[in-house]
Amino acid sequence: MRLVILDNYDLASEWAAKYICNRIIQFKPGQDRYFTLGLPTGSTPLGCYKKLIEYHKNGDLSFKYVKTFNMDEYVGLPRNHPESYHSYMWNNFFKHIDIDPKNAHILDGNAADLQAECDAFEKKIKEAGGIDLFVGGIGPDGHIAFNEPGSSLVSRTRLKTLAMDTILANAKYFDGDLSKVPTMALTVGVGTVMDAREVMILITGAHKAFALYKAIEEGVNHMWTVSAFQQHPRTIFVCDEDATLELRVKTVKYFKDSKLF
């Protein structure tokens, strides 16, 4: 893996956005050649999305030939609910850029047959030629997308019940009322993300430090599903100083001193 450590949240967001931007530009997307991007939600990637929007508004980056696949969506929440991931993606990203709506894929948490919806999503990814770059975050319990502790490391897109840790972490978006937080979600599997040609995980803040430690300094373990990416050929972890608080000095020094970048 690559571990890229920036001084603070803003610098980490900017580094990640620049990386995505450069990847897309270098790919030279066109009518017969779309760049496929996997996308996350939550507070961590907000800064990155803002930067990408800035690059687009400056005329440096177009999403005309980019296809996106979001990681997850709540089950049972109306699509236009302010906390749905559809609303998140529209307000924080899609409405500010020039992506073709037909190329923005998000799981439908209100589909009549949820498993069929998940299978169709996997099929769409396959038909798009697989994911070039999957961007993700990490939960405080070390999960990637909604692959909660105990999820199979070869899992595919499916329905998951959310862990208490996740529900507690999400309560702040629902007036602090636990009863209002959705308890189920559709999510890409660990295996689905592992299939991507490249993976970038964004991790910022001290509250994620322990999860980062478990993910990269301990073994591959289904209790900390992000650890699966130790077995992926091209993974980058982008973090701020605070997120490295639980790592060994030796680990941090190696990657900071490293001439890898």
Binding site: N80, P82, S87, F94, K95, D100, P101, K102
Partner: protein, 419 residues
């Protein structure tokens, strides 16, 4: 739903680089209110469109984008009290009232007004019978602002507080209550608002009958005390005509009609709306501030404009009157007596903002949302919420009108903008 398939193929217009007046979603401990948000305004088939729905359900983008140059987009202004303008007098029974209404409707577009209630002052029954059928409710468009219905101010008003209304034509409905009303006005199909004095005998029956027909009853030109006013509201009155003018002044032991602003005897869940002429002349700014601070949500800006509105400086003959216009003031020619208001609606909005120091959002709502709420039209008018009619004004930061749109179509544009 209109169109169905046709709607799906209709052009989608996206107004960008603007700030729009829109309700914020109900957030954690947030209040549902309106703010100027940096958002694009999307329009299709004359209505405000939800772009998120368009993106995820129809998978479409806009057909055309229009850059608004950083301007403010506010709901079109609604004037519920205007007696005429540009030489036209709505209370004059001519053979072609329609042309006069159409002329005013077209000219007020430049003031940012997209809907209005032509107002008739106290007149004899023959005038009502001749004029009312010629002023039908009409949608706005490139031809002019929409007519929401007629405002009948009088003749069932107080002799003492008649103001400029002709004494000879004042009436009462003591004898036959609502039947007297029908006999005087004729059919009420085109009527939207009636101003009356609640101290007149049998007013309660009349108010109930009018309210039952969906007509807004307004209290004005009256010497009613607070109790009589409260009873009128309990019977269905919802508006006060030009607060402070033509009513008893506020008194600390009997606040009169003015006391309705803070009355605790109104039907639950309802509050009173009140018209204010904020032309800098008819109401002292301190009085404007007292009313605004006592009850900001009920304030409705009206022009109460007279036929001299829009005529240049100098002398003009209007019907039987000689009027002298000096800037924003109209005098009875040769005297210092005010001859009605001639401040256009956008001037009133700016003056109101400056005099009260209120937020830009509230000043704009006083001219759009509040009159829409008064008339029960707030789902389609006076708002830029999804599904509402796309009637809006483009304003610069000092709230001067740059352009006016009705049903998503440009119906007026300032000179400089045309280059």
């Amino acid at each position: 739903m209109r169109g169905g398939q046709d709607e799906a193929r209709a052009r989608v217009l996206q107004f960008t680089n603007c700030r729009i007046l829109r309700g914020r979603a109900l957030l954690r401990c947030g209040v549902r209110g309106r703010a100027l948000l940096r958002e694009d305004l999307w329009v299709r088939e004359g209505r405000i469109l939800d772009p998120e729905k368009l993106f995820f359900e129809e998978r479409r983008v806009a057909d055309e984008q229009r850059d608004c140059g950083g301007c403010i987009l506010a709901p079109g202004f609604i004037d519920v009290q205007i007696n005429g303008g540009f030489g036209v007098d709505f209370s004059q029974a001519t053979e072609d009232v329609g042309s006069g209404v159409a002329l005013v409707a077209r000219r007020i577009l430049s003031h940012g007004v997209t809907s209005f209630c032509p107002t008739l002052v106290t007149s004899p029954p023959e005038v009502y019978h001749k004029v009312l059928p010629q002023i039908p409710v009409k949608s706005g468009g490139p031809h002019g602002a929409g007519v929401l219905g007629v405002h009948l101010e009088g003749p069932f008003i107080s002799r003492e507080k008649r103001g400029a209304h002709p004494e000879a034509h004042l009436r009462s409905f003591e004898a036959n209550a609502f039947h007297d009303v029908l006999a005087t006005y004729g059919p009420l199909d085109n009527v939207r608002i009636v101003t009356l004095a609640p101290e007149l005998g049998r007013s309660r029956e009349v108010i109930r009958a009018l309210a039952a027909r969906g007509i807004c009853v307004s209290l004005g030109h009256s010497v009613a005390n607070l109790q009589a006013a409260e009873e009128a509201v309990q019977c269905g009155a919802t508006f006060i005509t030009h607060l402070f003018n033509a009513m008893l002044p506020f008194h600390h032991r009997d606040p009169g009609i003015v006391g309705l602003l803070t009355s605790d005897r109104l039907p639950p869940g309802r509050h009173i709306f009140y018209g204010m002429i904020a032309d800098g002349m008819h109401t002292n700014p301190a009085a404007l501030r007292i009313a605004h601070r006592a009850h900001p949500q009920g304030l409705v800006l009206v022009t109460d404009a007279v036929p001299a509105l829009g005529l240049g400086n100098g002398r003009h003959t209007l019907g039987q009157q000689e009027v002298e216009v000096v800037g924003l003031t109209a005098y009875v020619a040769g005297t210092k007596t005010l001859s009605g208001s001639i401040a256009p609606m956008d001037v009133c909005v700016r003056h109101f903002l400056q005099a009260t120091g209120c937020s830009v959002e509230l000043a704009l709502e006083a001219a759009s949302l509040h009159p829409a709420q008064l008339l029960g039209l707030e789902k389609h008018k006076g708002t830029l919420d999804f599904g509402a009619d796309a009637d809006f004004v483009v304003l610069d930061d000092s709230l001067h009108v740059r352009a006016t749109y009705i049903s998503g179509e440009l119906v007026w544009q300032a000179e400089e903008a045309r280059q």
